[in-house]
Symmetry: C2
Subunit: 209 residues, 2 copies
DNA sequence: GTTTCAATCATACGTTCGTTTGAATCACGC
DNA sequence: GCGTGATTCAAACGAACGTATGATTGAAAC
């Protein structure tokens, strides 16, 4: 076996198990068993369980961030002030697309993201890099122009709402294992529902308080 | 000490630690240390760590459910068809009120709820009783009347959105420990932001797909 | 054929976990 | 005073955890 094989197989197994059972609920032994690798392979290839998690999250988050960034670029190339629905689509859309490879595809990816984001352990949440912050700040500025009169704090609150709705929805989809919910048609329906829901929410008049 | 004292002190400590570090991240020893009790007290009073979690969650969720139920009763006593904003307030409001006692109040309560809801362990999510389902079904029916033309699936999606936005927001608030975010004023602002955000989202026209 | 180095392997270490045990302690009716 | 049942205690159990170790393999390099 080439050195790359076990590495990626460990990454795949870890992504699957972290998404399904969480970081603390997944043992290194379970990962290496699923990957068909030796227990010590995690330490050899990644250093530690925490660093393996970092590699898993980085592999999942980076394409999403790139897609969000590219979507915003595409909008701004057309007009300096995109509509709210366009911004919502460009931001939330990639969260529905997920990884190209994988049995359950995007649902598992979102499950992983929520599992990680909501994990109280510090070692779990220490992965956020500057790229994520940059993209979020750019969208924040674009939404600010599209929604004048909104205070920065309320704008931040609403952007958190986008993440919350998309992520939690995908978790629910992933939890109930009925195959109907994993069909492409159901995924597309949820995507449209989310965009409708979130565009209306973002476009609400400022609270003022 | 009366038998009730150690029991409630263990409940308080467990609620605190479960909210802060999650179920798996909290050891029974940490709970009994914080409670000033003996390690074996958990086994004696609750049977096991999982049953202690059940007692903690029950104590937290029951008043919230009762408040949601009472709020809907109050609305329906006035008119058979409450407005969307009234339903949103009655449903999401109790999620911001939280427990009466506690240092950080509702933020910790919501933190606990999300920590529990998003925990992948099965033993953690096995607490949902018939009372929670009943309340949700009643709100579902009321929202259905207030929003004709919405398919049941899309309605369910939107109700999940309410939970997602309120819960995830509170998690963020609780994670950044800055005391400004825990002030009553900030809590009230977030409450109003959430109601504005969610009322607009719920009132969006049906997607149709 | 020998050297070399990255990769994989079986195995063990020390720690922490949830749970159990049996003795000690307490309050209290008689 | 004395049993009695409920509660608390120190101590230990076996299991599972993350990590480290040193031997072993395999294929290029020379």
């Amino acid at each position: 076996m080439a050195p790359r094989d076990t590495r990626t197989q460990i990454l795949d197994a870890a992504e699957h198990l972290f998404a399904e059972r969480g970081y603390r609920g997944t043992s290194v032994r379970a990962i290496t068993d699923l990957a068909g690798a030796n227990l010590a392979a995690v330490g050899y290839h990644f250093g530690s369980k925490a660093e393996l998690l970092g590699a898993v999250v980085r592999r999942v988050v980076e394409p999403i961030n790139a897609a969000q960034c590219a979507g915003l670029d595409r909008l701004l190339a057309r007009t300096p002030d995109p509509a709210v629905i366009e911004l919502v689509e460009a931001f939330a859309g990639p969260l529905f697309d997920g990884m190209p490879a994988g049995d359950e595809g995007s649902a598992r990816t979102s499950r992983l993201i929520v599992t990680i984001l909501s994990d109280p352990a510090e070692e779990v949440r220490s992965w956020t890099g500057p790229a994520e912050d940059t993209v979020r700040e750019r969208y924040l500025a674009a939404f600010g122009r599209a929604l004048p009169g909104l205070s920065p704090e309320e704008l931040r609150f609403r952007m958190r709402g986008i993440l919350a709705v998309t992520a939690v929805d995908r978790v629910e989809v992933h939890q109930q294992r009925s195959p109907a919910c994993l069909s492409p048609a159901a995924g597309e329906a949820a995507r449209h529902w989310a965009i409708t829901f979130l565009t209306a929410a973002m476009s609400a008049p400022p609270t003022g308080t």
